[in-house]
Structures are given as structure tokens and as C-alpha cells.
């Protein structure tokens, strides 16, 4: 299935929640969605007839200045098509519903997005840091992050 066919199916099911489809020559096509109903959209994508996105490749965070973006890459093993979903949340209130119950691999990807960017996934059963130590402060991959001067008595900068 091509990206615009998936976009049409999503648009007729969810209407306003889907913003637009962006296609480019060299880029992969992606669909912008609103963050509130992402779990329903993902359930439709996983179970829909002929769509069947049963493989969540990854969830990434992105720092977009005054907003934080979350990018979902989906793939279907049977039909061999893929799609990219993107959403944006404001930096002051980064709440996104979790898709952990739909694909169990989202558990660790969401924990990493929380650790690196501070995206709060509502409904996650265990949203704690995964890569940085449990008492680390700050979200390292944001653009305005300053590395700490010392940690547990050890000097951090070179």
C-alpha cells in the first residue's frame, strides 16, 4: 500500500486528528497527527484490514526548538509497507498517551524518550530512566542541556 492510501484510510476513520501527509523526493513520506488520540490511531493501524502494521520499528524523540516531536516508525511484515507518524507536544507540557499495550516493544523505547527528552507517556507502567543513572538531572539530548560539573564527587568535563 502506498502512503497516500494509508493516509486516506486514516483520514476517513479519524477525521480531524490527522493533520496532513508530507511527501518529498528524497525523504520518506510522513503523516502529522495530533497527540491526543495516538493510541487509538495505532490500534487501528495494527489491526486494520489490509494495513496490518504489526512491527513497531522504533519511537524517537526530536527537539524542535519550542516543541518536542515524537516519531513512530511502523512496518508490516506481511505486506512489506512502512509508514512514519509524527506528533508534536509543547515543551512545558509534554504529555503523550502510551502505546505500550499495543506493541510491547514500546516499553523500552518510551523509557528512552523520557530519559533523553522528557516526554511524559501517560499510562506507562514504569516510566523511569533507562540509560542515564537513576539520580541524573536534566534531559541530555535537548539542545539547551548543559553537562553537569560533577557527579558523585567525580569531575565530569574534560
Amino acid at each position: 500500500m502506498k502512503a497516500n492510501e494509508i493516509y486516506d484510510k486514516l483520514k476517513e476513520e479519524f477525521g480531524d486528528e490527522i493533520i496532513d501527509l508530507v511527501e518529498d523526493e528524497i525523504s520518506d513520506p510522513f503523516i502529522n497527527v495530533k497527540p491526543d488520540k495516538i493510541d487509538d490511531i495505532c490500534l487501528f493501524l495494527r489491526d486494520g484490514e489490509g494495513i496490518d502494521f504489526d512491527y513497531l520499528t522504533m519511537i524517537s524523540g526530536m527537539d524542535l526548538g519550542d516543541a518536542i516531536g515524537v516519531v513512530y516508525h511502523l512496518y508490516s511484515l506481511e505486506y512489506k509497507h512502512s509508514i512514519v507518524l509524527k506528533l508534536q507536544v509543547p515543551k512545558g507540557n509534554p504529555d503523550v498517551p502510551t502505546v505500550e499495550k499495543i506493541w510491547r516493544t514500546a516499553d523500552w523505547h518510551e523509557r528512552e524518550a523520557w530519559d533523553m527528552f522528557g516526554v511524559n507517556f501517560v499510562g506507562h507502567h514504569n516510566l523511569i530512566r533507562i540509560l542515564c543513572p537513576y539520580d541524573w538531572e536534566g534531559f541530555p539530548l535537548r539542545r539547551d542541556y548543559k553537562e553537569p560539573e560533577e557527579y558523585h564527587g567525580m569531575k565530569v568535563p574534560y
Partner: protein, 383 residues
């Protein structure tokens, strides 16, 4: 005469506590710095919580501050056992976005090096899996063979373990004059040693008893958890990126995808994953033989390497079949010489998340075997 007392014990009053054991970051069999918090009921595992991050080296932060060619040494250090396979998807992605077409000879050398890397990686995987089960000798045989492969990499790129060899648009340097004969010699040695290892380790009755029916991963659980590589193929799902979405020149070669079939036990157990790795080594030998035959004998490998890599605005997700599974890179470019965001979709990070579900109900010694069969490398898990 003493009468026999009739003792009635109410077994429901006997309570046993669960114990939390720490298989800490320093442990001979955790394949690196991984901490497992294991909850045990006697000897039986009831819950496993992995704690990772002990090797978090800030890979994504570095890549946002380096130019596109400068990122390649950092990408090497992701899966440090087979470094050239990591560089493969990255250079293909950047070349696709920048519109660079590489010469034929470069494509063939890249495929041969990637398949040699696959053999080297599986040699370590099988060797350390045997070591976890208690067999020390296969490790010595496989490491000896691995040295022959490493000598070829050293003659081509200068390094034994970390190469910086695949450049955007070509290669760092050409191969040495006796490359073809050396590689064919190595294939012969690999096939001989693999036959010995099948006899010594894989078909060994003790090994089969230890690894069959242990760590069973059903196919739908594997797909839901996003597993890839020998973990997914060991459960019967024939998904290989080289056949599903062919990249480079893989569609010119004739090879099979080995899939686990539950020969010695249930489908998806540790023995299946191991035999998939052994058979993949044989398929890699086939690909290398075909590539050596078809390879053009002249051509400049640095012909299309640009002085400055200019990538137009856009984003792309490229993936390739790393020896451990599907390795992907999400490259976002905004037209500047440094990438805006480079995210690595690491195989071992996703494969490791499944360990809680597949090790419930087995003994503690089996947990070490299950961890060995997942075949993780901590450089990828923590990046």
C-alpha cells in the same frame, strides 16, 4: 514396642520466600556490563529485571556535533564485534540522500566485507554460547579462525577491530593484490571448522539436553517485541532485510534464509537460534564465493568520494541486516554539514527487552544460557 506415629503435616503452612539476587555489572557471563535483578523461588526464576546504561557513551549527542564522515568512527563502536556491518546502512542512507552512485567494484567489496563480518560475528556468538554452557574448546578453535579473517581486515583498512573503512561514496582504500585467493582460503577453513564444531558442540548430547526446550520464544511474541535477526528466524519467521527490502547488490546473489524448525525440541528454543547462526555462516560463504567470481578486477574505489558531503534537507530511515538483526538509522538533515538528528535503531536494545518473558519458570543456570542465545553486545544496547 514403639508405635509408628501418624504425622500429618499441613503443607500449606510451609512458606517459602522469594529471593532477589543481583547478577551484577561485573560478572563473567553477562557478556559485558549488564545488571540483571533476578527474583528466584528456590532455583526457579520468576522475574528478571535488566538494568542497562552502564556503557551509555552519548553516541547521539556526538553525532549531532560531527560532520557526516566524522560520524563513521562512532558508528563503528556500536556493535564493536562486526564494525563494517554497522557502517553499511549509514553510508547507503547518506549516499541515497545526497544522490551519489558508487562504482561496481566498491559494491562488491562492501558485500564481501559485510559477509566476512557476519562470519566473524557468528563465530564469537557460537563460541561464547558454548562457553556459557560449559564448553571451553570451541572458543579456542573459533577464535583461531577469527584471526585469519581479522588479518584480511587489517590488510585492507589498518585496524583489527574498528575500521572506519566504508566512506560516503566509496571506501578508504583498495584491497591488497592477493585478496581473492586469501578469501577463498578462509572460506575453506571456515567450512572445515564449522563441520568440527557441529560434531563437537552442536550435535553433542549434553549440549542438546541443556539447550533444547529452554527459552522458548513464540513467533507472535517475537514480532510484538520487535525482535529481528536470528532471534526472529529461530522462531520460524523468515524475515531477512536482504530479501525483504534488498539494499546494495544483494538481489544478484542466490542464497537461502535458514529458519528454525524445532528439530531438537520446541520451535524457538535456544538450540534453534544457535543452529540458525551456524547455517547462516554457510550461506555467507556461498554469497562470498559468488561475489568473488563476479567482482570486476579494476576500478578506483575513491573515485566518487566527495571532498565535502552535501546532504539536502530531508529525512530517511535506512536499514540493513546486521549479523545480530535489523540495524537502522534515522537520519534527519537540514542542509548543513552536520546531521540534525541521527538515531540508531539498535538490534540488541530491542532483543534484550524480551528476556523477562522468555525466562520465567526455568532454572537459574538456564537463564545464563538464554542470555547467551540472545547474543547481545552492550555497545549497541546502551549506545
Amino acid at each position: 514396642m514403639k508405635e509408628k506415629k501418624n504425622i500429618d503435616v499441613a503443607y500449606s503452612l510451609l512458606e517459602s520466600d522469594r529471593m532477589r539476587l543481583n547478577v551484577g555489572p561485573q560478572h563473567p557471563s553477562t557478556h559485558g556490563v549488564l545488571r540483571l535483578e533476578v527474583e528466584l523461588d528456590g532455583e526457579i526464576v520468576t522475574e528478571v529485571v535488566p538494568h542497562i546504561g552502564y556503557l551509555h557513551r552519548c553516541f547521539e549527542k556526538h553525532c549531532e556535533n560531527m560532520t557526516y564522515p566524522q560520524c563513521i568512527p562512532f558508528i563503528d563502536r556500536l556493535d564493536y564485534i562486526s564494525s563494517m556491518s554497522n557502517e553499511f546502512p549509514y553510508v547507503i542512507g547518506v549516499e541515497k540522500m545526497a544522490g551519489i552512485e558508487v562504482p561496481e567494484r566498491v559494491e562488491y567489496i562492501r558485500v564481501i566485507m559485510a559477509e566476512l563480518n557476519r562470519i566473524a560475528n557468528h563465530q564469537i556468538a557460537v563460541a561464547t554460547f558454548g562457553l556459557d554452557a560449559g564448553a571451553f574448546t570451541p572458543l579456542l578453535y573459533l577464535f583461531r579462525d577469527r584471526e585469519f579473517i581479522l588479518s584480511i581486515f587489517e590488510k585492507a583498512s589498518g585496524g583489527r577491530l574498528l575500521y572506519n573503512y566504508f566512506w560516503v561514496g566509496g571506501l578508504a582504500s583498495d584491497v591488497h593484490p592477493t585478496f581473492k585467493e586469501d578469501v577463498l582460503d578462509i572460506i575453506k577453513t571456515v567450512r572445515q571448522t564449522n563441520a568440527e564444531i557441529m560434531d563437537l558442540l552442536v550435535e553433542n548430547r549434553i549440549f542438546v539436553e541443556r539447550t533444547a526446550n529452554v527459552g522458548i520464544l513464540p513467533a507472535d511474541v517475537a514480532i510484538n517485541f520487535g525482535c529481528s535477526g536470528p532471534m526472529l528466524r529461530g522462531s520460524g519467521v523468515a524475515y531477512d532485510v536482504r530479501k525483504a527490502a534488498p539494499y546494495s547488490i544483494y538481489d544478484r546473489f542466490d542464497f537461502d534464509i535458514p529458519v528454525g524448525m524445532g528439530e531438537r525440541g520446541t520451535l524457538g528454543d535456544c538450540w534453534d537460534r544457535n543452529i540458525v547462526r551456524m547455517r547462516e555462516m554457510e550461506q555467507s560463504c556461498r554469497i562470498i564465493e559468488q561475489a568473488i567470481e563476479q567482482m570486476p578486477s579494476d576500478g578506483d574505489v575513491k573515485e566518487k568520494v566527495p571532498a565535502r558531503v552535501k546532504v539536502p534537507k530531508g529525512e530517511i530511515y535506512v536499514k540493513a541486516e546486521n549479523p545480530k538483526g535489523e540495524l537502522g538509522f534515522y537520519i534527519v538533515s537540514n542542509g548543513k554539514p552536520k546531521p540534525e538528528r541521527l538515531r540508531a535503531r539498535a538490534t540488541s536494545f530491542v532483543n534484550l527487552s524480551v528476556i523477562n518473558d522468555i525466562s520465567k519458570g526455568y532454572m537459574f543456570a538456564d537463564l545464563i544460557l538464554i542470555l547467551g542465545s540472545i547474543d547481545i553486545v552492550l555497545g549497541e544496547v546502551d549506545r
